[in-house]
């Protein structure tokens, strides 16, 4: 094995045939949905050399997972290959029999799934699942494979590498499971690993550790890999070459540094469009909402500890934190779904009743909320007109033609038109759905809008559009936003002030510039340094900084 450096090779000119591990030519795949076959992959070429890591990037529906699985000769139930060839090491995987492919799967070709928790069999111990394929194919004795697995656990910096394998999947955390799955994929020393969004479900601070483990494993054994993700900053750390996909087509392919510094296609640039957005922070002392020393609990479990947050009028305060930090709970306290056990929420200097049942219609109207999942935030049986019209009727008593007229005005404000009036949510795209939710909030004519991760389920270019819209509305109507997110790029795009939360407490509040520049409190530093940057050397730099 060539253990040398894996310097990116950008062009197809390298004539050494032995060097090519996987070659896909004009691949076409269809999937069965709505009672017909629809194309998913529309003629893709892909070449992967030994020891090379290819990043496959694209937004939801681009077909990247399907292509990743196809690289192993695998199609999901309900999909079929309709054309092209997949040649792995001289074997055509399209025409190969199941038995031939099975001999490769789990040994030469391995797979790391997105949801490790669901992909481990709950009935077997981790180490048995780690070595199953290796032992089955007689690559190693069970004893030797187990010893090797423990070494791998150690190398992937899992805690207690000697005993963690004796646990069952539900006894181990998500980030650790993802690393165990990487060890499972490495156990047979495969020639190719397919990583399918392995860090998407993880928090940023966990993501860094898992990324490091995976890169280490791949580099150490000079394994070729296909790394699938929608996050360009993540793939920049992992891949030598990046291929951008959209709607089952290839947009472009280039080596990582070229792709980042000099993308050819407009679409590629749009993949990091949110990062280009920057808001000039403005300070203000006119406080519209004030959260004072709030403690809150679900039953006996205390989730908020002495939270103090001030929201200036017409400005945006972003609450940043990982899952479980209490940022969404804070929002629930503000809108009155959860009563604070101590402390209070004041609106325009007036103390709000703790529970929404005791608030007046006027108080309810002035604080509106937009949700993360626009899909679940709109009743699928109501039309856009009904969805936006209800708050008009409920709060302002508008009915009939007046209400319809106002709905159309609101639709125009969110850059949609009256043709959307009769549509059901299922007839809208993701971005349009979120816009309708914004219009519903606007219909109430609020002073504050709470945005709970409103962009995190959307594709980058759509995110940018939504953020632009929110900024414009703020300027026009002087609305204040309490903006909850885990994404630092979004934060710098929209906020005036930032609140960092961890374990139910506020770590830090201040203007954007103050929070995002040193000196940092311990946790803010960890959080900020864990956010992947669009720089291929970022991961190395982080490792160097942390180990020093």
């Amino acid at each position: 094995m060539n253990n040398g450096t894996t310097s990116p090779k950008s062009s197809d000119q390298s004539p050494d045939q032995n060097d090519v591990l996987l070659e896909i030519r004009d691949l076409k795949i269809e999937g069965f949905a709505d009672e017909k076959w629809n194309p998913i992959i529309k003629g893709i070429d892909l070449t992967l050399r030994r020891g090379e890591v290819l990043g496959l990037i694209g937004e939801s529906g681009a077909g990247k997972s399907t292509l990743g699985l196809a690289a192993m000769g695998f199609t999901k139930a309900g999909c079929r290959i309709t054309g092209g060839s997949i040649v792995y090491d001289g074997i055509d995987l399209v025409s190969a029999t199941e038995a031939e492919k099975r001999a490769l799967w789990g040994t030469d070709l391995t797979y790391v799934a997105q949801s490790a928790a669901a992909s481990f069999n709950p009935a077997h111990r981790l180490i048995d699942q780690t070595i199953a394929a290796t032992v089955r194919e007689g690559l190693q004795s069970s004893q030797a494979a187990k010893a090797d697995a423990r070494d791998l656990y150690g190398a992937l910096s899992l805690p207690n590498p000697d005993t963690i394998g004796d646990r069952f999947p539900h006894q181990v955390s998500g980030g650790q499971l993802q690393r165990v799955m990487t060890a499972m994929a490495m156990s047979s020393r495969p020639k190719l690993i397919v990583f399918d969004e392995p860090t998407t479900a993880l928090d940023v601070t966990t993501q860094v550790e898992v990324l490091l483990s995976m890169r280490k494993a791949v580099k150490e054994f000079n394994t070729a890999a296909i790394y699938i993700t929608h996050d360009l900053a993540v793939v920049a750390q992992m891949a030598d070459v990046i291929k951008v996909m959209q709607h089952g087509h290839e947009v472009e392919e280039a080596d990582t540094r070229t792709m980042l510094s000099d993308p050819k296609e407009e679409y590629t640039r749009s993949l990091w469009s949110v990062r280009m957005l920057e808001k000039e922070p403005v300070h203000s002392d006119d406080i519209v909402l004030s959260i004072d020393s709030v403690d809150a609990a679900y039953g006996k479990a205390k989730v908020l500890h002495d939270v103090n947050i001030k929201l200036p009028r017409g400005k945006t305060v972003s609450i940043v934190g990982e899952s479980g930090s209490g940022k969404s709970t804070t929002a629930r306290v503000v809108i009155g779904l959860l009563s604070a056990s101590t402390g209070s929420v004041s609106f325009n200097g007036e103390r709000l009743p703790a529970h929404l049942k005791n608030r007046t219609k006027e108080q309810l109207r002035k604080i509106q909320m937009i949700y993360q999942m626009a899909d679940t935030a709109m009743n699928p049986r109501q039309t856009v007109g009904e969805i936006i019209g209800r708050p008009l009727e409920f709060y302002h008593g508008l009915k009939g033609a007046d209400a319809d007229k106002r709905v159309i005005e609101l639709l125009e404000q969110i850059d949609l038109d009256e043709s959307f009036f009769d549509r059901l949510p299922s007839e809208l795209s993701g971005g349009q759905k979120q816009r309708v939710c914004i219009a519903r909030a606007l219909a109430a004519d609020p002073e504050i809008i709470i945005c709970d991760e409103v962009t995190s389920a959307l594709d980058q270019i759509v995110q940018e559009g939504i953020l632009q819209l929110l900024l414009r509305l703020q300027k026009e109507k002087n609305i204040s936003y309490l903006f909850i997110t885990h994404d630092i790029a979004t934060v710098s795009a929209i906020s005036d002030e930032i609140v960092v939360m961890n374990h139910g407490a506020v770590v830090e509040q201040g203007s954007k510039d103050a929070v995002l520049s040193p000196p940092y409190p311990e946790y803010t530093k960890l959080l900020l340094s864990s956010v992947p940057e669009m720089d291929p050397d970022w991961l190395d730099a982080v490792t160097a900084k942390r180990s020093s």
Partner: protein, 304 residues
């Protein structure tokens, strides 16, 4: 308005369905329906016609007694007469009306009780939910036919007590399903959004939750109807259900069952008890086929 040069939100791809009237949509669906669904529809239509126009179709009266008991099949009595000389065909046709009518009434009542309690429990999620749910757990620990038998022994077998008893027992099953599906909807953000807006319980139940749990409830209505129908038929067959002289298929089987023993001498006579039994089987087959198709449709497609 600041618009992005490469991006326009209204141009984004969203799959828009062609506007069609409800009638057109149903017809399109029906044209694609499998044979089994069509068989189901035909069976149900046939039974409905029989039930509604029974007095016009039946050759004789429901309780009209003729001279010859157990008469053979001939031109005057196509399916012979029963043990006291009533025309079997006429009773079969009137039986459709009685048996289906009582089963439908029972199912409606069961849905009214179980459905509304289920919705309330799903929205409340507090002590009331706990109380109803635990109570239902206990009631469901008694097999329904056994429970029905026990209550009938106390309240006697009138049509009304039959409807009430079976409806109450079956409402526990309806409650379970309604609560389960409604809880899934009640945790949706749009329900929370309505709560935060300040909407009352009535609005949330009627406008936000109910329209979204209709497909499983409609399917359950079909299945429940079959179950109620079979239970009532079984009870009548056992002699504790619908009482004579009301014509009813379960009792008809019981009354003519002894004829089976003469199969070697008169196969037609032996088939007499099997005809009402077959009538019961056929309608449940029909409803089941239809529900099965509906379930496949509604699990595959979110809307309509």
């Amino acid at each position: 308005m600041s618009k992005q040069n490469t991006y326009s939100p209204s141009a984004e791809v969203g799959s828009v369905r062609t506007r069609r009237t409800r009638k057109q949509r149903i017809w399109i669906e029906l044209k694609k329906a499998p044979v089994s669904a069509w068989v189901g529809i035909l069976i149900i239509t046939f039974y409905a016609v029989m039930a509604i126009f029974a007095p016009l179709i039946a050759p004789y009266g429901e309780a009209e007694v003729f001279d010859v008991p157990f008469a053979q099949w001939d031109d005057t009595h196509w399916l012979g007469t029963d043990q006291i000389g009533r025309d079997v065909l006429s009773r079969l046709i009137f039986g459709a009306r009685n048996t289906i009518g009582i089963a439908l009434a029972t199912t409606f009542l069961a849905f009214l009780i179980g459905g509304s309690l289920g919705l309330i429990a799903a929205i409340n999620r507090g002590w009331l939910d706990q109380l109803i749910s635990r109570g239902v757990d206990v009631l469901m620990a008694i097999p329904s036919l056994i429970f029905a038998l026990m209550l009938l022994s106390i309240f006697g077998s009138s049509a009304w007590s039959l409807i009430m008893i079976i409806a109450v027992i079956d409402s526990t099953r309806v409650f379970r399903l309604t609560r389960a599906v409604a809880v899934n909807v009640a945790v949706m953000d749009y329900v929370e959004a309505a709560t935060v807006r300040g909407e009352g319980l009535g609005w949330i139940m009627r406008k936000e939750i109910l329209p979204n749990i209709m497909p499983p409830l409609v399917a359950e209505f079909g299945l429940r109807f079959c179950f109620v129908f079979l239970t009532i038929a079984s009870l009548s067959f056992l002699g504790v259900g619908i009482q004579p002289p009301t014509a009813d298929w379960g009792s008809m089987v019981r009354e003519t069952a002894q004829l089976i023993q003469f199969a070697k001498y008169d196969i037609k006579a032996a088939l007499t008890p099997l005809i009402p039994a077959g009538a019961i089987a056929l309608i449940t087959v029909g409803v089941n086929f239809l529900v099965d198709w509906f379930l496949q449709k509604s699990s595959g497609l979110r809307d309509e």
